[in-house]
Point group: C2
Chain length 150, copies 2
């Protein structure tokens, strides 16, 4: 018995969409991770490096809200980046609760080397869709993503 017959058309449409969202994300994610691993980084580490590289130093908390993860998580990711000497923690001068993370010279050099390569690789993968389709997909995803707040 098909999902539609069992649960109705509306539910069937929605579930089918969620399944495809999940699959598309996971296949994409796998490709991205595979690429990033070449540089001996994990995906979360790369994302943090990317934020710091493009936007400059920022507190742990801001990194959390940007990447939609918890504080405990970010503490660990920053720990691991720090072990590699790619970022460093600096106490905020104005508020000693706050710890600002900044990219090191070593981190910046690595980031400059790899970001554009990674971006090109991701662009290549996206090219199975035309630019027009990519824009339409992005529009629908944004509508879906931003209105799920509640």
């Amino acid at each position: 018995m098909k999902t539609t017959e069992k649960y109705g058309k509306k539910i069937s449409t929605a579930l089918s969409m969620w399944v495809k969202l999940s699959r598309a994300y996971h296949t994409f994610s796998k490709k991205a991770v595979e690429d990033i691993r070449k540089y001996n980084l994990t995906e979360p580490q790369f994302s943090v490096l990317e934020s710091l590289g493009h936007l400059g130093p920022m507190p742990i908390g801001k990194l959390c809200s940007k990447q939609l993860v918890t504080g405990g998580n970010m503490t660990l990711v920053v720990d691991n980046l720090e072990k590699e000497g790619l970022v460093k923690r600096v106490h905020s001068t104005t508020d000693r609760r706050t710890i600002v993370v900044q990219i090191t010279e070593k981190g910046k050099t690595l980031f400059d080397q790899i970001f554009i390569q990674h971006a090109k690789r991701m662009t290549e993968i996206a090219s199975v869709l035309s630019e027009k389709e990519q824009n339409e997909l992005a529009r629908l995803l944004k509508k879906l993503g931003t209105s799920i707040t509640e």
Copy 2:
């Protein structure tokens, strides 16, 4: 300086789409997890229960390929479901390397109770898009997801 100016339009379009895919997936995923947690299950546990509940007993390996995860991962998820008495491992009679996982009475009862509720909740969340938009989104996601194989 905007991404477009820095790296060109094609790259900018693709990266923007990936960011939105990632955000949409994560916000959706968070909602799904939140709902599933009410039943004291994790998302991977729910997915396994769903496969077994809808399709019947199957080997660990088949669960892996369905959920796109590694064997070591599935071993643990099944372990945890087994601890709760929701599934059980049965050695295959034809090939003793293979371990077939089947849902227990307790697991089936739970699954029957929660699946439809969860589906309705997910349908509700999807309803920020019209059914037509959901179908278009699904179509683009499928095109994207299935052609990333290589």
